[in-house]
Symmetry: C2
């Protein structure tokens, strides 16, 4: 049950749908105001500029996105390789939805690549770093030797799958990436004294 939104929340929700669906540069502030059911004066009361609204769009996606990834990981059975693969499988299912258009963080970063100091770009970098940090923690708990490096390699496959699936409009790239991630995890050395109780 979606809890009732205040005006600011309605604006962010409307902006999120439009920015994700059309891209930042192709969505006008007029369109956001109309979709949110407010006037532009109200929109500019809550946000100083379009750049601020774009940053709020990504910021609103940060925590829910991370929780979704962690949820897929936690719900899956098997060892860490199978739990990571479950994330890729879930993303493959998402990518088959007709409205799917890739990763909002990556697409926004790509569109704003000429503006490295843009607040939304910083939020995107922070989000990806937070995901890698969470995954490294899980890999550490699973007893792997170099959890940070392993989580970075998994993230590379994840971002590659977002890109390739978008380029070719073919969700099976997530499954290919999941298979590669499984292979890298299985080949990764574990600590000798690892507390291999969990999921081993």
């Amino acid at each position: 049950m979606p809890k009732p939104l205040n005006t600011r929340g309605k604006i962010v929700q409307a902006a999120s749908k439009l920015f994700y669906s059309e891209g930042i540069g192709r969505v006008s502030m007029d369109a956001v105001a109309e979709k949110a059911g407010v006037t532009k004066r109200t929109l500019y009361y809550h946000f100083d500029s379009k750049d601020d609204l774009v940053a709020a769009y990504l910021d609103a996606r940060d925590q829910p996105n991370l929780k979704q990834m962690a949820g897929w990981f936690a719900a899956a059975g098997g060892g860490p390789d199978e739990k990571v693969a479950a994330i890729f499988e879930a993303l493959a299912r998402s990518a088959r939805h007709p409205k799917w258009k890739g990763c909002g963080f990556l697409r926004t970063t790509a569109e704003l690549a000429a503006l490295p100091g843009h607040p939304a770009v910083k939020i995107g970098a922070r989000h990806k770093a937070a995901f890698a940090g969470w995954l490294a923690g899980e890999m550490e708990s699973a007893g792997f030797e170099a959890p940070a490096a392993l989580s970075r390699q998994i993230l590379l496959l994840l971002d590659g799958a977002f890109s390739a699936s978008l380029v070719h409009r073919e969700a099976s790239w997530f499954e290919e990436a999941g298979a590669a991630a499984r292979a890298l995890i299985r080949a990764h050395p574990r600590r000798p004294e690892a507390s291999a109780a969990v999921g081993a």
Copy 2:
């Protein structure tokens, strides 16, 4: 020695620099005309629309880009794992250039994700498929069991490295991706009857 360009070539060259540097939506046709040293009337004589010019921008990058990749691969010593790793190392060097802003094909696809039928999006997909096809041929010659699947996994790491390097402005992601690619190649089964003469 850059061969002298005709008017159309000058326009494409100017458009390429601007589109890659700023992104499609942030470059006006006025800016392209001024940079190319022609008037807008001339620009619209050679190209029917901005969309056509964007397609020409990516099309002009297609073959040179593929040849550059193949050149790095061919120039490197060692087995196929080292030759693939050489591509990642060369891209890491490119990514350290201050003007580097990721992969033009991926960024254009991301920006135009709402327009799957756009001619430039199709050219981007064709380019990535051509790279994967070339790499699969090389992996086949090297005697690997499933060359197409292996080349797709390498491409995932490559596109992931483009994305991650752009997000974090940190070229070392290419080196991390190269290490992962080496690991996947080494772990990949070879055909029993492989003509393992080359690079083995």
